[in-house]
Symmetry: C2
Subunit: 276 residues, 2 copies
């Protein structure tokens, strides 16, 4: 997703400096005229605005706060935007570290997947100050359609957690419903005709259930990434004293699937937990 997003910026004639742990993955960008940097710190030193999109919160921590990280630069960018889905608590720590360097930070996780990144139709959920959001907005508008400042540092991440909690319940319901349909002898494809247009309708039902019926478990969204997100949400909820039994059930279900080798399947592979 990061590559698709960076390409939109490059096509908008933004001069780009890129770093990736795997240089090969930046090839499209280098061919499109981006310059290579050898570390996050070098990106920071050469840029006014620095954007990141990585995997885990530990990766985010390392590229911002690590020995070779962006905030170790002699001169910080004026604005740092993290598109990774990551921990709200870490987003607040990064925002504080940026502020102490005179820089603005924005946590800006996205939803809309690969397709949304390619079509620049992402929903971008932002946390940070009003000035940081105003400064980032022209750039964000190259990448997404729904761009909302949800609150201070961490609020973008919290909003993304809400998004994932909604999906967690919907996917569990989808898995049980499809398992029930098959077990009771119904034709699941015909069932979708009856249930797809009413009060049971969801994006997941419309987009992922048909893939299940075709035996297509390729990712849209990787189980291992969803698992990471659920764990962040559960950690945050725990620290707020909030119990989320459905999200916890989704975490257990997806963890068992990852354990069984389905971590790189799409989230629709949840039906395997019900004998599909």
């Amino acid at each position: 997703m990061g590559r698709s997003m960076a390409l939109h910026l490059r096509h908008a004639e933004h001069p780009l400096v890129v770093f990736s742990r795997t240089k090969e993955r930046a090839r499209d960008l280098l061919e499109a005229g981006a310059e290579w940097a050898s570390s996050p710190r070098e990106v920071a030193e050469r840029c006014e605005v620095a954007c990141s999109m990585v995997g885990l919160p530990s990766d985010v921590e390392s590229i911002y706060l690590g020995a070779d990280g962006m905030l170790s630069a002699a001169r910080a960018p004026r604005l740092l935007i993290d598109f990774t889905t990551s921990s709200p608590a870490l987003a607040r720590r990064i925002a504080e570290a940026c502020a102490s360097r005179g820089a603005e930070a924005l946590d800006a996780p996205v939803s809309g997947g690969d397709v949304g990144a390619r079509n620049a139709s992402l929903s971008i959920m932002c946390g940070g100050t009003e000035p940081a959001f105003a400064a980032a907005r022209p750039l964000l508008e190259r990448l997404g359609k729904t761009i909302v400042l949800q609150g201070g540092a961490g609020a973008g991440q919290h909003t993304k957690m809400v998004n994932q909690l909604l999906i967690a319940g919907t996917m569990l319901g989808l898995a049980e419903a499809l398992a029930y349909a098959r077990r009771s002898g119904l034709d699941p494809a015909k069932v979708l005709e009856s249930v797809g247009g009413g009060a049971a309708a969801s994006w997941s039902l419309a987009n992922l259930a048909p893939r299940v019926l075709k035996g297509d478990f390729s990712p849209g969204f990787f189980i291992e990434h969803f698992l990471k997100d659920l764990r962040i949400a559960l950690d945050e909820a725990r620290s707020m004293g909030l119990e989320l039994p459905t999200a916890a059930a989704a975490e257990r279900t997806y963890a068992a699937l990852a354990e069984a080798g389905h971590g790189r399947s799409g989230t629709q592979a949840i039906v395997h937990a019900y004998g599909w």
Copy 2:
């Protein structure tokens, strides 16, 4: 819903004979020219096609198979259609009892709620023989938009259970997501702007979450009715050897709410289980 549906038939110039345990609730229909019958048996004796829409499976059993029920009539209608959301096993028993009287039965639960009943835009999920479905179709087309024969007797009920299982997961996710949004200090209305249009989208999110935010817990769909449906689904699943932990969690959550006096609230009142 039964009254709205019967009114559509009356407005289509069908001669109607009606029975209701509470005569007062049939007043609109009687004023529109329907005739009164004093029991389900009398309805059966006076009609070619008999339709039912009641509350619990025990009510369905009583109006079909009870001492004063439709199948106790000297002469059975040629077609009996039950629109109640009820037990698939009971639907099969009724179909057998009808067949032994030379009559056709159709289980035909609906989704789309009060609004769908008023606008004749229901999804009608049918179980029965092809001839029964063909005979019922012109009448069903007065009541709904999506009309599918899902299989033999009971298949309509099974399909409705699939619909309710989808909703169960979605509602649990919705409740946890809204609770998380509020607890983390977000503005839930603003969060809906960010999450409403992507992979987390659902009918429930679009239609019920805004009611929660307005403090509107009036029914769309009663908790006590949803609870009845979940119990049917769980009973059927148990008899098929299928475990449905999410549906079971929804049943426990809604049962506690009903216990606490929310049985006549709408299903969106599930947020009360999360301290809303």
